[in-house]
Symmetry: D2
Subunit: 355 residues, 4 copies
């Protein structure tokens, strides 16, 4: 269960070994590292790996005095940090900051707390664009119609469609995912509205987008993409009132976390035909077998799968290793997101149960 690598690196006294504590569940190293990345990883220090179960407390306690890097979701309250004088960085490879770390204590000690969360931005943004075009142009709907023998050809097949190109697009949340999506749609010449209360207008304008209030976005956008993270402040902030502000026939895509919407109100707006929608996330996952969500006609369903691609998981490992290399050279990380105190505590993502 527990393996130690590199024990015999020449010129290194065992008592001086720099430990890399690897506790990555629910990820495993094979999942997040391709062979070249794994090779780079093994050169970082003495790896101690627990992959079939979370690292036992006694192991963690024993290793802390020599640990320079933690790769995983190990609990690190102040008492443990006090026992880890050589610790330089903690990488959350499940990519959701959890409340099991004393972030303020890390900050005061200069310990980086990092997450390669942006690894998932590219595959999710790509799928979001596919789904947005699908909703605008009626792709899945037209396929179902043709299978049912009810298809209409040419212009008659476009009575309820609109062009994605040129439509006003509203992005709720403008982190890595929102920016990647904005980049992908540059050739489509959309007017892009962004609502993100954590960002200054300057940042939004730099990405050729207009910073707007939430209601303004909902009233103006023909395609609304929900990319916001769940925090203690914004749970269910998109409810019946907000969906009613959206223009009838608009497309709404829920790509980040189910918790930011009032899910029944969301489904109701779809069922009534007020909006057409796609969702990659659900309040309960796996979705119960008899959940009526499975049978709503105007809803494009995706089983929390747009981010879970092999390339994204490999990027998790590659970003982790690259930043760890920098940190061990005394340089700041460049690829992972930093757990800014004050932000990390607000995040309310549930740990993932399924990779």
């Amino acid at each position: 269960m527990l393996s130690a690598k590199n024990k015999t690196r020449p010129g290194r006294d065992k008592t001086l070994a720099d430990i890399v504590l690897v506790d990555p569940l629910p990820r495993t190293l094979d999942l997040i590292m391709d062979p070249p990345t794994r090779a780079r990883f093994e050169r970082l220090g003495e790896l101690v790996i627990s992959e079939d179960r979370p690292m036992p407390d006694e192991t963690v306690e024993r290793l802390l005095p020599d640990t320079v890097l933690v790769i995983g979701q190990t609990a690190l309250p102040k008492a443990r940090l006090d026992r880890a004088p050589k610790l330089r960085a903690i990488f959350n490879v499940e990519t959701n900051f959890l409340p099991n770390i004393d972030y303020a204590a890390c900050q005061s000690r200069g310990i980086w707390v990092l997450s390669p969360a942006s690894a998932f931005a590219a595959p999710v943004a790509e799928a979001a664009l596919g789904m947005a075009i699908d909703l605008a142009r009626g792709i899945t709907t037209a396929d179902r119609a043709m299978r049912a023998g009810t298809e209409a050809y040419g212009l008659a097949g476009n009575t309820e469609t609109f062009r994605f190109a040129g439509s006003t697009v509203g992005l709720i949340g403008f982190g890595d995912l929102g920016r990647e999506f904005r980049r992908l749609i540059m050739p489509f010449d959309n007017k892009v509205l962004v609502h993100d209360p954590w960002l200054p207008d300057e940042i939004i304008r730099r990405h050729h987008a207009e910073p707007v209030g939430l209601d303004d976005l909902l009233r103006r956008a023909r395609v609304v993409l929900i990319f916001a993270t769940v925090t203690s402040d914004n749970q269910g902030f998109l409810g019946a009132r907000e969906f009613a502000l959206i223009q009838p026939g608009s497309a709404v895509l829920l790509m980040s976390r189910a918790g930011v919407v009032d899910f029944p109100a969301f489904l109701d707006a779809v069922r009534r035909g007020h909006i057409r929608a796609a969702t990659d996330v659900f309040p309960e996952e796996p979705v119960p077998a008899d959940d009526p969500v499975r049978r709503i006609p105007g809803l494009l369903l995706s089983a929390h799968r747009t981010g879970g691609t092999e390339d994204a998981l490999h990027a998790v490992g590659r970003m982790t290793v690259a930043d760890a290399e920098l940190i061990l050279r005394g340089l700041p990380p460049q690829l992972c997101r930093r757990a800014d105190p004050g932000i990390a505590e607000r995040l309310r993502s549930k740990p993932i149960a399924i990779t």
Copy 2:
């Protein structure tokens, strides 16, 4: 049925009237012109319009001596051209050059024969990108799985998917549609291969693509887009042999004309699971109610509807009017495609039966 506009424009002698002969079926003016375009159109000359039936021969014959523009698909053999000394341009607004015009005679008289065919490139390219991402990422398939209760989450839901970004893309045919598609996918950083025997390599390279032979394209591309026009030379040029060259699991999208593929061989490659595919065109349209094509699992079906959007039809009118304005000022057209003799005769598109 027949209406003449602008008859009384002041300062114009009726006998000198410049006739614009409008014979647009299967299109109608309402279909292809928004009100501002229609207003510009009416300023071009004396409009004589036949929209509920093709313009009767006797009307055509009577108008020819004063006709400066033909808007529509009126037959114009040499004998008629001989009787139309003022004729400056013929606009095919159905957007397929037909064999009912003497193209060489037009050329020798300096009569432009034009078609605003590129109006359809933008909506078809947009839908093609939506469908390409759909096939790569399994969007429609995942929706069906979730409706059937057989969905898989996260990485498990991606065992048969690949990222569109970064995949090698092969375009067969690189006219307006191919170039618009290439433009749309710029942010995805694909390697793009182009096969188009009518184009010099220089043009293809300018669009950041690699000119290749057909077999090379089929062997290397993970996403193959068939954008080629049917000509007398290339009917069914993509058959069993060609589909066999494609890597298993690749995506193939047929977006131009059914005639360029051996359709049964195409369907067979899909049925066997060798490729996943989408098609917007069929050998017979409407597709017969009992056609088994409606029930093939790995095929995304679209009832010849990706181009038939309102904005595309309005672009047909706008491009026609803008070029007509230039021609009447003695300038060359800028927006429509020219019927180059030698090319027009090779084209084998069937006239559209359904708009």
Copy 3:
């Protein structure tokens, strides 16, 4: 002086030889073709080349019956065209259509008259951007100041500069050169105004520019680029009245032909400090040694050299050969500009004296 290549190609009877008549002065083949292009060129037919003097009339007359392509500026009035039944295309490699061809007769015979003029767009646009940034940011001026010991540092060195990025840019003329310049400045996020009376607004808008009248452009643009061709209609159309409309301190770049401006009025506006300017063209070239234009302080001088780069000349040859290959295959040319009747006659470029 006269050389015939490929005379002995096996399998070709001399009497059936397809002659490629090469009469390229003031260009030479070495100037316009790199070795791979030259090799392709020699495969087109039986080359007969006159490079040290224009091809003698008697040679031309003798070759016409078997000539399929003319590469050069040979006079081709109707009488000669009548004697050239196999002629398919004429390539003007000096890249200015001259009045020594009967364009209408070519059109009625289906003979392409072509010019690879766009070969020069890329180097001229690149230089124009360098010069525009130079004028906006005072680069050459600051270099001169530092050599004179009168430089100012930091903000004090920028009292008369402005950022090119974000400035309103006006393009007068929007052919190949204007479009290439527009493409190059995309990352600078300028508002771009275009005045081109030969183009429909639709084309201009497609390039993310606003079609405007000339006076409107002059009043609004902070950087004005003169890219217009001289025609019978527009000689000297930019005069004292027009320069007075431009905002004081704006930058004006004359990149196409001196004939489109009233040159004394242009210099006067610079001398008075009303505008800062750059010019690549002059009414008389070479410029007389004592021409006072050489001593105007606010004028960036360029001796008609922005287009004359080796890569541009090689592109002339490459575009010519590629289009000739297509034409001999019965396909329309794709790279060269066509001499549209009605346009070619209006052009008033002087033949170049210096390459």
Copy 4:
């Protein structure tokens, strides 16, 4: 000399006032804030401003207990930080981190130390592109030749030039400036090499550039841009050996700090005609009146003025205010650079003497 604003904001007890300590020399508020930014700034707290001299120590000491923000270059050793319990952030608006702050103490207290340094990236990158095209295409040189009556026309005027488009470009240093430059040259289709030992290869590749070692870059690039910051490690790292590696006739632009090059070796390479070059920085500024650098022919001179534009200075203020607003709302800054401990200490920029 000292002014306090907002003293009477209703509902705020004077003893509880949140002080914004403003000590911006060598900048002044007028220099770095346009009126709308100034208005936002005044809403941040009780401004206490010293602009005609550095804030006197006694004033600083008196204000520290109530200070929430420091805007300026005030010395803040640990003893002062101990007396500033409410301090949330320090903004260096001269935009060079100085050794007068205890960075580690700031980090352990969660005090942001920030600099809006990227404000200068846009104007410097723009000027660098102008200068790079100038060197490649010989723009300033050709202007001088024409003034001297020694100009050459057309191709003869391009014997020593090369196209910037398509040339291999090497960037030494890839922070804000390098990335902005890379963005600006996207339309030129250059092969871009980057050497930056502080960055992982992953970051460089994301910007469509190839990470390379320094020697490799110098050997391969036709245009070399020196964008590196001076640190304790890299002073004079570009010397005679390095300049010798560069291909003859290449262009070298020194845009960041004179300290990174062995300046005499740099000038020698230019004097010998081995490279053509531009420099915006000098070892001593202002440059002495009789410095021979002023007379080197192949060197384009710029008096440390490419960054000192009004818009850049206004961006300094706007970025500062926008990030201060976020920080006072408990959010992390988004626009300014963070003084990562370990980096700030290595920086060796001299404070600016001239704005």
